[in-house]
Amino acid sequence: MEAAVWLIILPLLTAFFIGISKLYFKKILAPLVTGSAIIYLYLLILVINHSYPPKVYNVGAWGLMGINLMVDPFSAMFLLMIAILFLPVIIFSVKYIKSHKHKYFIFTYLMTAGIAGMVLTADLFNLYVFLEVSSLSSCALVALKNTNKGIEGTFKYLIMSTLGSFFILLATILTYSLTGTLNMAEISLEFKDIPFQIKSTLMSFFVFGYVIKIGLIPLHAWIPDTYEDSPIPYNVLSSGLVMKSAVYALIKVLYIIFGIDFLDQSGMLHIGVFWGVITFIVAHLLAYQQSNLSRLLAYSSVAQIAYITIGLFVGTEGGLIAGNFHILNHAIMKGTLFLVTAIFYYSLSAVKIEDIKGLGYKFPILSFIFVVASLAIVGLPPFNGFISKWLIVEAAIESGFVYAGFFILVGTFLSLTYYLKVIVTLYTKTEKELLIVKPTLSLRLPTIFLGSLCILFGIVPSIPLSLINKIPKFLLDNGEYIRILLGG
């Protein structure tokens, strides 16, 4: 399982080499980043292929005394998401990013390293460190355009995310002082004897810290601000990976450390589902009001993450499968939408919704993809979003959260209101002469790739589901996970 640690080292090394290449040989940037991304893709596929049964890698060969990396189906699903998004975004960015190009790639690679670290690690403090790596580089990317709005968004992001990290660190420290260890498996074993009240307080700190980064209502306010004036390819990674990595960490902490039984007793499952319902209703209503396309998509991200939250907090096998599938699908759909938006911005600096008027006739294929992705994200058949929403609703009803299922359908309707608004604008003819920069193939190809995945996973959902189906076994029964991590 040497490849697992390479998943973290390779982006780091690439980032450092980009730093050096900026000083001495600027020309090699594009081959360097694409080459590294291709190798990274290969490594990811290698690790995903060997993810079942789960494997443990001891950093420093210290066994349980040091830090362990663990590849289980849950992290493999996440790695699959990185594999799908990362190379297209890198290829897209090579052409798209014009200013601070080196810095952009440095931060992107650092962010990916942080996310890969968060996904793979089985150590609580290590999780915090990598969380900090990914959120700090993410902040940097928000500020990259160096505009007023970008800087303001960065500041808000920094403040909120640092507050979240702070509570995560507090909870981590308290956990250490209670259990004397930082290994998740050992903590989980030790936690069996800890009084209920302490555990629930710790859990609320963890939940609060991660939820700030996930952005459920009312902790969501910074998310649209960071999306509004940042490089759009970054938004793909931000909504696809950064927010999701926080979801991942939260779920891992809750399900592995605290265990499903405790979540049920303490009422966290109910809180999570209810929170999700509130969030997507409000987020949909807010998204309708937006005139800025990125902001609209950001609010939509908040809503979609609420669906994911519902799926994951339902607490059954079906719910976990549905939530994870929606994590993957949302990354693909939102990635497609953002990439198309980015091409619109690249071609005629369209920011507002009315700026894209009439583009449906200028870019027929891209607009078609935009329509496909937005219908998918609304949850209409036969696209991938529909399948995962179907699974979420089914799981919610199955475990008694009938109201959640009903409101998901209401939310589908609400999300259609604003996506259809955008689509209608896209296909409204305009008198204005549009000055258009033709997007090159390297911009169009990644977009088309992601868009076609929307259709593919909608018609043949069994491809990703074969991997995702293995996840609930390790989350619902943390004994299995603990046994493997402890080397049994």
């Binding site: 090394l13 001891n58 290590n126 990598f130 940097a140 209670l178």
Partner: protein
């Protein structure tokens, strides 16, 4: 009415903070009553076996650079990220710090200090596994040299002495070096960042050349942190 509103808002914030404090108090009290010191078998293992296993006397260093060296990698990355953010947030411009010039005495004293600082930094870095200190602290002390130069002689001089590109290069080399040292473990058939377990010459404990790779890791971190902080400082200063 608006004053009432403002008063109410303030009170509400106060209530929030106080209730947070009360919750924390309850939790701390309960944790305190639990008596958890018996559970620290991991740290007891570090204390009883750490010196033999890693060869470093300073257990904190051996935790940082051996048992939990992966954390340190992440931490160094955070610092590098911060340095990178600052260096691009700043447009190229002249400094405007204070705008005063110092007297002869100050500059002479600075000159006088620099060798001492260099020696102190080197000591802190190289003896990190034997005494308190280590790469981070030593790196910071090293970074004070360009900072002092900047404060006393303005940025131009400092950057003439220590070119920004060189600092950036040093930072990257530090970080890459850390990873390469970690990869030594992989090359020799052990795991990434292996040191104590891979038996890289623990040497005689208490000596300078001991504890395997720890001094070298310390050195790399020292270079990285020193260069990174110098970049951060100069960037902040140059911000118009």
């Amino acid at each position: 009415m608006s004053r009432m509103n403002a008063m109410f808002k303030k009170l509400y914030k106060l209530v929030l903070v106080v209730s947070l404090a009360i919750f924390l108090f309850i939790v701390f009290d309960e944790i305190h009553n639990l008596d958890n010191n018996s559970k620290r078998y991991l740290s007891e293992h570090y204390i009883s076996e750490g010196v033999q296993e890693t060869g470093a006397i300073n257990i904190v260093t051996s935790v940082l650079y051996d048992y939990r060296a992966f954390d340190t990698l992440g931490e160094a990355t955070v610092l590098l990220t911060a340095a990178a953010i600052l260096s691009f947030l700043v447009p190229l411009g002249k400094d405007k710090m204070l705008g005063t010039t110092f007297t002869m005495i100050v500059s002479q004293t600075t000159k006088f200090f620099i060798p001492f600082l260099a020696v102190l930094g080197a000591y802190l870095i190289l003896f990190g596994h034997l005494a308190p200190g280590g790469g981070f602290v030593g790196g910071v002390v090293m970074a004070v040299i360009p900072i002092l130069l900047t404060i006393t002689y303005r940025v131009e001089f400092s950057e003439y002495k220590f070119k920004p590109a060189k600092k950036k290069l040093a930072e990257d080399i530090g970080a890459i070096g850390f990873i390469l040292l970690g990869l030594v473990g992989v090359v020799t058939g052990s795991n990434f960042l292996a040191n104590g377990q891979a038996n890289f010459g623990p040497g005689n404990t208490g000596e300078l050349i001991s504890a395997g790779l720890i001094p070298f890791l310390n050195l790399m971190i020292g270079i990285k942190v020193g260069a990174g902080l110098a970049i951060i400082f100069n960037s902040l200063i140059k911000e118009k």
